[in-house]
Amino acid sequence: MHQQLELLLQIQDLRMQRRGLTDGTLTDLETDVFDIKVEDAIRSLDEKVEELAGELTRRIRERYCRIADKAPRVVAPVINGICYGCFVAVSTARASEADRNLRVESCEYCGCFLYHVA
Protein backbone atom coordinates (compact mmCIF):
# COMPACT_ATOMS: atom_id res chain seq x y z
CA MET A 1 0.00 0.00 0.00
CA HIS A 2 1.22 3.50 -0.81
CA GLN A 3 2.47 5.19 2.36
CA GLN A 4 0.38 8.31 1.65
CA LEU A 5 -2.74 6.20 1.09
CA GLU A 6 -2.08 4.50 4.42
CA LEU A 7 -2.05 7.92 6.10
CA LEU A 8 -5.25 8.87 4.31
CA LEU A 9 -6.94 5.66 5.48
CA GLN A 10 -5.99 6.40 9.06
CA ILE A 11 -7.28 9.95 8.73
CA GLN A 12 -10.54 8.67 7.26
CA ASP A 13 -11.02 6.14 10.09
CA LEU A 14 -10.45 8.87 12.68
CA ARG A 15 -12.87 11.22 10.92
CA MET A 16 -15.45 8.44 10.93
CA GLN A 17 -14.93 7.94 14.65
CA ARG A 18 -15.32 11.66 15.23
CA ARG A 19 -18.49 11.69 13.18
CA GLY A 20 -19.99 8.92 15.33
CA LEU A 21 -19.46 11.14 18.36
CA THR A 22 -20.90 14.28 16.78
CA ASP A 23 -23.91 12.89 14.88
CA GLY A 24 -25.13 11.13 18.00
CA THR A 25 -24.93 7.55 16.71
CA LEU A 26 -22.12 6.46 19.03
CA THR A 27 -22.45 9.12 21.69
CA ASP A 28 -24.78 7.29 24.11
CA LEU A 29 -22.82 4.04 24.07
CA GLU A 30 -19.47 5.77 24.38
CA THR A 31 -20.59 7.92 27.29
CA ASP A 32 -22.86 5.47 29.15
CA VAL A 33 -20.94 2.22 28.71
CA PHE A 34 -17.37 3.41 28.22
CA ASP A 35 -17.49 6.65 30.18
CA ILE A 36 -15.91 8.68 27.37
CA LYS A 37 -15.78 12.45 27.71
CA VAL A 38 -17.05 13.42 24.27
CA GLU A 39 -15.53 16.89 24.06
CA ASP A 40 -12.11 15.63 25.10
CA ALA A 41 -12.38 12.73 22.65
CA ILE A 42 -13.26 15.04 19.75
CA ARG A 43 -10.38 17.35 20.58
CA SER A 44 -7.99 14.43 20.74
CA LEU A 45 -9.24 13.02 17.41
CA ASP A 46 -8.90 16.42 15.76
CA GLU A 47 -5.32 16.70 16.98
CA LYS A 48 -4.45 13.26 15.65
CA VAL A 49 -6.05 14.01 12.26
CA GLU A 50 -4.10 17.27 12.09
CA GLU A 51 -0.87 15.45 12.96
CA LEU A 52 -1.39 12.78 10.29
CA ALA A 53 -2.45 15.36 7.68
CA GLY A 54 0.82 17.12 8.39
CA GLU A 55 2.64 14.03 7.13
CA LEU A 56 0.92 14.20 3.73
CA THR A 57 2.93 15.57 0.84
CA ARG A 58 2.02 19.10 -0.20
CA ARG A 59 0.24 18.01 -3.36
CA ILE A 60 -1.84 15.34 -1.61
CA ARG A 61 -2.53 17.56 1.39
CA GLU A 62 -3.95 20.24 -0.88
CA ARG A 63 -6.26 17.74 -2.51
CA TYR A 64 -7.16 16.32 0.91
CA CYS A 65 -8.03 19.78 2.28
CA ARG A 66 -10.27 20.54 -0.69
CA ILE A 67 -12.32 17.37 -0.12
CA ALA A 68 -12.19 17.41 3.68
CA ASP A 69 -13.72 20.89 3.88
CA LYS A 70 -16.89 19.92 2.08
CA ALA A 71 -17.54 16.24 2.73
CA PRO A 72 -17.20 13.83 5.65
CA ARG A 73 -15.58 11.22 3.44
CA VAL A 74 -12.12 11.80 2.02
CA VAL A 75 -11.32 8.18 1.19
CA ALA A 76 -13.91 5.95 -0.42
CA PRO A 77 -13.66 2.17 -0.59
CA VAL A 78 -13.84 0.62 -4.03
CA ILE A 79 -15.65 -2.68 -3.90
CA ASN A 80 -16.14 -4.71 -7.07
CA GLY A 81 -15.19 -1.71 -9.18
CA ILE A 82 -17.74 0.63 -7.57
CA CYS A 83 -16.64 3.77 -5.74
CA TYR A 84 -18.63 3.79 -2.50
CA GLY A 85 -18.23 7.56 -2.29
CA CYS A 86 -20.59 8.12 -5.21
CA PHE A 87 -21.70 4.60 -6.23
CA VAL A 88 -20.37 5.03 -9.74
CA ALA A 89 -18.19 2.42 -11.45
CA VAL A 90 -14.59 3.58 -11.57
CA SER A 91 -12.46 2.88 -14.62
CA THR A 92 -11.16 -0.65 -14.59
CA ALA A 93 -7.45 -1.13 -14.65
CA ARG A 94 -5.54 -4.27 -15.42
CA ALA A 95 -3.66 -4.14 -12.15
CA SER A 96 -5.13 -6.24 -9.34
CA GLU A 97 -7.08 -4.41 -6.64
CA ALA A 98 -4.25 -4.78 -4.12
CA ASP A 99 -1.70 -3.43 -6.63
CA ARG A 100 -3.88 -0.41 -7.23
CA ASN A 101 -3.40 0.59 -3.59
CA LEU A 102 0.25 1.14 -4.46
CA ARG A 103 -0.88 4.38 -6.13
CA VAL A 104 -2.83 7.32 -4.75
CA GLU A 105 -5.86 7.60 -7.02
CA SER A 106 -8.94 9.79 -6.86
CA CYS A 107 -12.45 9.12 -8.12
CA GLU A 108 -13.04 11.19 -11.23
CA TYR A 109 -16.70 11.66 -10.26
CA CYS A 110 -16.73 12.50 -6.53
CA GLY A 111 -13.06 13.36 -5.99
CA CYS A 112 -12.56 10.98 -3.06
CA PHE A 113 -9.24 9.21 -2.72
CA LEU A 114 -9.77 5.57 -3.58
CA TYR A 115 -8.97 2.55 -1.46
CA HIS A 116 -9.41 -0.73 -3.29
CA VAL A 117 -10.80 -3.26 -0.85
CA ALA A 118 -9.36 -6.68 -1.56
Binding site: L9, Q17, T25, L29, F34, D40, A41, S44, V75, P77
Partner: protein, 150 residues
Protein backbone atom coordinates in the same frame (compact mmCIF):
# COMPACT_ATOMS: atom_id res chain seq x y z
CA UNK B 1 -28.79 -11.10 13.66
CA UNK B 2 -27.76 -13.15 16.70
CA UNK B 3 -24.32 -12.67 18.26
CA UNK B 4 -23.66 -16.40 18.05
CA UNK B 5 -23.87 -16.20 14.26
CA UNK B 6 -21.09 -13.61 14.19
CA UNK B 7 -18.51 -15.52 16.22
CA UNK B 8 -16.48 -18.09 14.32
CA UNK B 9 -14.43 -20.68 16.28
CA UNK B 10 -11.14 -19.43 14.78
CA UNK B 11 -11.79 -16.03 16.38
CA UNK B 12 -12.49 -17.40 19.86
CA UNK B 13 -9.22 -17.63 21.79
CA UNK B 14 -9.69 -19.13 25.24
CA UNK B 15 -6.02 -18.95 26.12
CA UNK B 16 -4.47 -15.74 24.82
CA UNK B 17 -0.69 -15.77 24.68
CA UNK B 18 -0.72 -11.99 25.18
CA UNK B 19 0.70 -10.61 28.39
CA UNK B 20 -0.29 -7.00 27.79
CA UNK B 21 -3.26 -5.05 26.47
CA UNK B 22 -1.38 -4.17 23.27
CA UNK B 23 -0.41 -7.78 22.68
CA UNK B 24 -4.01 -8.87 23.25
CA UNK B 25 -5.25 -6.36 20.68
CA UNK B 26 -2.65 -7.58 18.18
CA UNK B 27 -3.49 -11.22 18.85
CA UNK B 28 -7.21 -10.66 18.31
CA UNK B 29 -6.65 -8.50 15.21
CA UNK B 30 -4.63 -11.37 13.77
CA UNK B 31 -7.79 -13.54 13.90
CA UNK B 32 -9.40 -11.34 11.24
CA UNK B 33 -7.55 -12.83 8.29
CA UNK B 34 -6.28 -9.48 7.02
CA UNK B 35 -3.01 -8.69 5.29
CA UNK B 36 -0.18 -7.31 7.39
CA UNK B 37 -0.69 -3.65 6.38
CA UNK B 38 -4.41 -3.79 7.13
CA UNK B 39 -3.74 -5.46 10.48
CA UNK B 40 -1.35 -2.63 11.33
CA UNK B 41 -3.92 0.04 10.45
CA UNK B 42 -6.65 -1.70 12.42
CA UNK B 43 -4.39 -2.12 15.44
CA UNK B 44 -3.45 1.57 15.37
CA UNK B 45 -7.11 2.53 15.15
CA UNK B 46 -8.03 0.34 18.14
CA UNK B 47 -5.13 1.80 20.11
CA UNK B 48 -6.32 5.32 19.30
CA UNK B 49 -9.78 4.43 20.55
CA UNK B 50 -8.23 3.10 23.76
CA UNK B 51 -6.33 6.36 24.12
CA UNK B 52 -9.65 8.22 24.26
CA UNK B 53 -10.60 6.09 27.27
CA UNK B 54 -10.26 2.42 28.16
CA UNK B 55 -12.85 0.03 26.76
CA UNK B 56 -12.49 -2.02 29.95
CA UNK B 57 -16.06 -1.73 31.29
CA UNK B 58 -15.33 -3.44 34.60
CA UNK B 59 -15.74 -6.92 36.08
CA UNK B 60 -12.92 -8.25 33.94
CA UNK B 61 -14.50 -7.36 30.60
CA UNK B 62 -13.18 -5.13 27.80
CA UNK B 63 -14.80 -4.34 24.47
CA UNK B 64 -12.27 -2.71 22.12
CA UNK B 65 -14.08 -1.46 19.02
CA UNK B 66 -13.73 0.73 15.97
CA UNK B 67 -14.79 1.24 12.40
CA UNK B 68 -12.16 0.94 9.72
CA UNK B 69 -11.98 0.90 5.96
CA UNK B 70 -9.72 -2.14 6.10
CA UNK B 71 -12.57 -4.50 6.95
CA UNK B 72 -15.36 -5.29 4.51
CA UNK B 73 -17.91 -6.58 6.99
CA UNK B 74 -18.61 -6.60 10.71
CA UNK B 75 -16.10 -8.83 12.48
CA UNK B 76 -15.93 -9.98 16.09
CA UNK B 77 -13.43 -11.94 18.15
CA UNK B 78 -13.23 -13.10 21.74
CA UNK B 79 -10.08 -13.58 23.78
CA UNK B 80 -9.65 -14.88 27.33
CA UNK B 81 -6.66 -14.43 29.61
CA UNK B 82 -7.49 -15.90 32.97
CA UNK B 83 -4.42 -14.48 34.66
CA UNK B 84 -5.66 -11.02 33.64
CA UNK B 85 -4.40 -8.08 31.59
CA UNK B 86 -3.85 -4.50 32.66
CA UNK B 87 -6.39 -2.67 30.52
CA UNK B 88 -6.73 0.49 32.66
CA UNK B 89 -10.35 -0.58 33.08
CA UNK B 90 -13.00 1.64 34.65
CA UNK B 91 -12.86 -0.38 37.91
CA UNK B 92 -9.04 -0.62 37.66
CA UNK B 93 -9.32 -4.42 37.89
CA UNK B 94 -7.49 -6.74 35.45
CA UNK B 95 -9.32 -7.71 32.28
CA UNK B 96 -9.82 -11.39 31.58
CA UNK B 97 -12.31 -11.32 28.74
CA UNK B 98 -11.84 -9.24 25.61
CA UNK B 99 -14.54 -8.83 22.96
CA UNK B 100 -13.20 -7.19 19.80
CA UNK B 101 -15.66 -5.58 17.39
CA UNK B 102 -14.68 -3.97 14.09
CA UNK B 103 -16.90 -2.76 11.29
CA UNK B 104 -16.49 -1.02 7.96
CA UNK B 105 -17.63 2.61 7.71
CA UNK B 106 -20.55 1.57 5.52
CA UNK B 107 -22.59 -1.43 6.49
CA UNK B 108 -25.66 -2.44 4.58
CA UNK B 109 -27.30 -3.98 7.62
CA UNK B 110 -26.02 -1.43 10.14
CA UNK B 111 -25.17 -3.98 12.82
CA UNK B 112 -22.20 -2.30 14.48
CA UNK B 113 -24.06 -0.31 17.13
CA UNK B 114 -26.61 -3.02 18.01
CA UNK B 115 -23.82 -5.60 18.29
CA UNK B 116 -21.71 -3.30 20.44
CA UNK B 117 -24.75 -2.64 22.62
CA UNK B 118 -25.62 -6.35 22.93
CA UNK B 119 -22.10 -7.31 23.93
CA UNK B 120 -22.00 -4.49 26.50
CA UNK B 121 -25.31 -5.70 27.90
CA UNK B 122 -24.04 -9.30 27.96
CA UNK B 123 -20.91 -8.17 29.77
CA UNK B 124 -22.97 -6.50 32.47
CA UNK B 125 -24.98 -9.61 33.35
CA UNK B 126 -24.06 -10.80 36.82
CA UNK B 127 -23.23 -14.42 35.97
CA UNK B 128 -21.32 -13.77 32.74
CA UNK B 129 -17.74 -13.38 34.03
CA UNK B 130 -18.04 -16.63 35.97
CA UNK B 131 -19.57 -18.46 32.98
CA UNK B 132 -16.80 -17.17 30.70
CA UNK B 133 -14.19 -18.47 33.16
CA UNK B 134 -15.68 -21.94 33.08
CA UNK B 135 -16.00 -22.62 29.36
CA UNK B 136 -13.41 -24.91 27.83
CA UNK B 137 -14.08 -24.76 24.09
CA UNK B 138 -15.22 -22.27 21.43
CA UNK B 139 -18.39 -24.35 21.09
CA UNK B 140 -19.19 -23.78 24.76
CA UNK B 141 -18.71 -20.05 24.21
CA UNK B 142 -21.30 -20.15 21.43
CA UNK B 143 -23.59 -22.24 23.66
CA UNK B 144 -23.32 -19.58 26.35
CA UNK B 145 -24.49 -16.92 23.89
CA UNK B 146 -27.23 -19.31 22.84
CA UNK B 147 -28.38 -19.79 26.41
CA UNK B 148 -28.67 -16.01 26.72
CA UNK B 149 -30.56 -15.95 23.43
CA UNK B 150 -27.98 -13.57 22.00
Amino acid sequence: MKLRELFVPSAIKLDLAAETKDEALRELVSCMGLDEKSEGILYKMLKRRENLGSTGIGRGIAIPHCRSLVVTRLRVAFGRKLSGLDFKAIDEKPVRYVFLIVAPPLEVSNQYLPVLGKIAQFGKEADVPESLAEISSPEQFIELLDAKDL
